[in-house]
Amino acid sequence: MSATPGTPAPAPKTNHIGLPKAHYEGGKSTLCLGCGHDVITKQIINAFYEMGIEPHKVAKFSGIGCSSKTPAYFLNRAWGFNGVHGRMPSAATGALVADPTLIGIGVSGDGDTASIGIGQFVHLVRRNLPLVYIIEDNGGYGLTKGQFSATADLGAKQKGGAVNAFIPIDCCSLAIELGGTFVARSFSGDMKQLQTILEAAIAHKGTSVIDVISPCVTFNDHEGSTKSYKYSKEHETPVHEIGFVPFFEETLVEIPAGDTKDVTFPDGSVLKFRGVGRDYDPTDKEKALKAIHESHGKQEILTGILYIDPSRPSLCETLGATGESLTNLPLEKLRPSREALDEIMESLR
């Protein structure tokens, strides 16, 4: 989506590099009303605005899915690469090693990352490419109408009634196991925590994995709630037809540090979020893994910055490149001399 200079004249308020919020906004969202993904988009805008990053230095990446559409909804003045399903990390890798001066942000979904994309995700984390990698995690495939993804909870129920029989992949503990250098989890509804994490991630030199729980208001389904689909379905259409999407309000809360908070969703489902406490040490790998694994047992979702390891070199360092952009080097720097060629020719005689 190309820049829309038609946006309203800069509001007086600007960030510390003197740019108005408008310069960080994007196109109109086409997601369902109340979709948590849109709240994440807002926080991405806020984070880049607050940090005063020049929009034209930002490169946005995504795969395919409702979540992967969102780069079109923020930072219109930044470039975007909407790749194929599950293979965004490779495109981001190519672009950011080609021009390491760009600030990269990738938005993916749980299907795009944990199902079809798990291979590229694993190798992205392993290479430690400087990239903010956000998983907008709803445990399912929104854009293809609600099938389970590899992060769906065991026993999760689909709008159609199907029950998930497989254990979920936890992208956070997985990333830590793989040597990830920045791993966090948040909830689309906790704007404050999310923005803090985003700003820390943008500042991190390496891959920052952020798993943001962002339930699909349209296709998630849970029992025992007059607000659940079960109810409206009875009054409506065959389970088969999922054409109808009621409007929902966004669910906004604040997760307390060191304590839990139950959050109820439009469909009546309840999730228990826990914020890591002041005492939590995000530099201890074993403890971090243990804490995450224990939260699974307690049916809790542990949020916050779960692990950081600033020591590991980022991909750009590993490659021993100059650090400047490789996209516009002058001919002299790229084409060796005539002598160099002659020498090689001589060696082949």
């Binding site: 780069p71 590229q120 021993g320 996209t327």
Partner: protein, 633 residues
């Protein structure tokens, strides 16, 4: 057709009189025995005597133990194609010795490890000449030292170099120079190898008064030339072509292309001051990731490439379609091997033409380049980057195992003087001129090629989001039927523009011929040799067109229109190029007669000669003849 064979095969040498600078030698060893160095030395010695040579390594898809054959062809007229008939055989491999001997033509000469007892009653052929050499005993003489023990298996190969040198008149001085060259400065190794060669020379001198009638005599046909593999040449082309990002995944026979690029880049792309590289090379986790990285880098503005073979191209198909539709520059080297599927990973073929030309879902067509020599690997690699950026689309450089991994004699490469053609890129100032009227996918110039911007361009109007989904000419998401149609019609126009920019064909016309041979890539060698023989031996004179690219250049089309019968020579089963030619030139469809070899071996002239001589129009006129009436090798 047997008549053809005899005609082309019964030749002097059999009856004893000398044949100078026209023969082929095959060395049969086991994989991993390290014979490569010995064979290269043998080949280079002949080369240094001024005689045109080509060397083809027939190796298994295994690391150690399975049979390997190395064939050296020396030919004063400069024919470099594979030859069906062998004149001299060196048998070092017990496992294949009997078959190897069985397969050589009558009148051939066989040097062999004495232990193999090839002359024992029952085994011995009386129409070949034998030279028994006790290699395993001889080697002990010079590798007595314990630290040499484990090198015996290796150094023994140098002994046959000496034996052959003596038997065929190769100048030992050149052999020693070749060794020095091969083992760049490793003096200990050089000495040891030279000792081994001398041992062979002496043994042969004493033991075989009668020499092999196939002789090497000095001539002056290799002045200034080099010996190189196509993959290395292509890698050099990437270096001189300004490639800055390389993403790859190992696969035979393409690995050595990127590995050479790594080696060259380590020398030639290191900043003298900072010692940092101005190149980024990533060994990806697979080919899907390789192409993703290349497209990401191309989108960002780098000259990026990958190298792979058929299985990799298949895996890349989805992302290649995005490259086509989102219009991102990319260069892909397809070093083709024998398919389908894993097929014969260490054998050659031109089997990915349709895969690459029509690659990915929906309506797609991609430009293909067909280098036929190391020199073209070097030049076309550079052209590929220019075309990719000028056309903003993936460009395929279609080479194969024969060209990529075998040793080729070549002219020295010309130093490129033209600047890089970076295509239609608007910088901040450029965008400022057009402001909001700029559209990433707008056809401003009427050639179907839009203007792009690179991430990081400091101008509020410069940014856009690229995608594989429907978009209008402003790069905005669109499902509007007319936006879609306009866009894909522009892509057709762009492909027509490509037609005018891709490398022209190479045309050699004989006086007044109404029929012609058409070949591409490595099929060039067997085809041109066949053309000469058809004229000289069979009085059939044919014109020749070497296709160097797709889409068809106007000059190629004109050439085809001028000919009533066109023998299309390719190294695949289904006549894949013919499919494209019939589609592009339906009114000429019946003129295309398919001549094919697809046994995994490089094309030989005999196949082409037979194909032409046995041409029975009726059987060609097509119909739903899946075989295209071509000749099977």
């Amino acid at each position: 057709m047997s008549s053809v064979l005899t005609e082309t095969t019964s030749r002097p040498g059999s009856s004893g009189e000398a044949v100078v600078n026209d023969f082929s030698i095959q060395v049969a060893t086991a994989n991993g025995s390290g014979s490569q160095t010995a064979n290269s030395v043998l080949m280079r010695s002949i080369f240094r005597m001024g005689v045109p040579v080509s060397g083809k390594n027939l190796f298994p898809s295994n690391i150690q133990g399975l049979p390997t054959w190395f064939t050296i062809r020396a030919n004063k007229d400069g024919y470099l194609a594979r030859k069906r008939d062998l004149d001299v055989l060196v048998c070092m491999n017990a496992e294949t010795a009997d078959d190897d001997v069985r397969e050589v033509r009558a009148g051939a000469h066989v040097v062999y490890e004495k232990k193999l007892g090839l002359e024992n009653p029952g085994k011995k052929r009386d129409d070949v000449t034998y030279y028994a050499v006790p290699f395993s005993e001889l080697i002990l003489k010079i590798t007595a030292a314990p630290e040499h023990a484990k090198l015996r298996k290796l150094i023994v190969n140098m002994i046959y170099v000496g034996v052959v040198a003596d038997l065929m008149g190769i100048d030992p001085a050149e052999t020693e120079k070749a060794i020095a060259k091969q083992l760049r400065g490793k003096q200990k190794a050089i000495d040891l190898n030279i000792t081994a060669v001398r041992l062979g020379l002496e043994f042969a001198a004493e033991s075989f008064p009668a020499k092999i009638p196939f002789r090497v005599e000095r001539m002056n046909a290799t002045q200034g030339k080099i010996i190189i593999e196509g993959n290395m040449a292509a890698a050099l082309g990437c270096v001189f072509g300004g490639a800055t990002v390389c993403a790859w995944y190992p696969i035979t026979p393409s690995s050595s292309l990127c590995e050479s690029f790594i080696d060259f880049a380590d020398d030639l792309r290191v900043d003298p001051v900072t010692k940092k590289k101005n190149v980024a090379i990533i060994q990806a986790e697979d080919e899907i990731a390789s192409i993703g990285m290349v497209l990401g880098a191309g989108w960002a503005g780098a000259r990026a490439f990958t190298s792979t073979s058929g299985p990799g191209i298949s895996l890349m198909s989805e992302y290649i379609g995005l490259g086509y539709y989102a219009e991102i520059p990319a260069v892909l080297f397809d070093v083709q091997r024998t398919g389908p599927s894993t097929g014969l990973p260490t054998r050659t073929m031109q089997g990915d033409i349709l895969l690459c030309y029509f690659n990915s879902q929906g309506d797609t067509k991609h430009p293909l380049l067909f280098p036929a020599s190391p020199e073209e690997c070097f030049t076309m690699a550079q052209e590929a980057f220019d075309l990719a950026e000028q056309l903003q689309t993936p460009i395929f450089v279609m080479t194969d195992l024969d060209l990529g991994m075998n040793n080729w004699m070549s002219d020295a490469f010309p130093y490129p003087t033209a600047p890089f053609a970076r295509g239609k890129v608007l910088d901040a100032a450029g965008i400022e001129k057009v402001k909001e009227t700029w559209g990433r996918y707008k056809d401003v110039d009427g050639d179907g090629i839009p203007y792009r911007t690179l991430p990081g361009t400091p101008n509020p109007y410069a940014a856009y989001l690229t995608r594989g989904s429907g978009h209008n000419d402003k790069a905005q998401y669109s499902e509007k039927p007319q936006d879609y149609v306009n866009n894909v019609n522009r892509l057709v126009k762009k492909f027509e523009t490509a037609r005018t920019m891709v490398p022209k064909p190479e045309i050699q016309d004989a006086a007044g011929a109404t029929a012609g041979l058409l070949a591409y890539g490595t099929s060039h060698y067997g085809t041109t040799e066949a053309r000469d023989k058809l004229a000289s031996k069979f009085g059939v004179s044919l014109d020749y067109c070497r296709l160097r690219s797709l889409p068809l250049h106007a000059e190629a089309v004109n050439w085809m229109r001028r000919h009533e019968r066109i023998y299309v020579v390719e190294q695949n089963r289904d006549g894949q190029l013919v499919t494209i030619l019939r589609d592009e030139l339906p009114e000429l469809a019946t003129r295309f007669l398919s001549v094919r070899q697809y046994n995994g071996l490089p094309l030989d002239a005999t196949t082409v000669i037979e194909g032409v001589l046995n041409d029975a129009p009726a059987s060609r006129a097509g119909g739903s003849d899946a075989q295209k009436g071509g000749l099977d090798a």
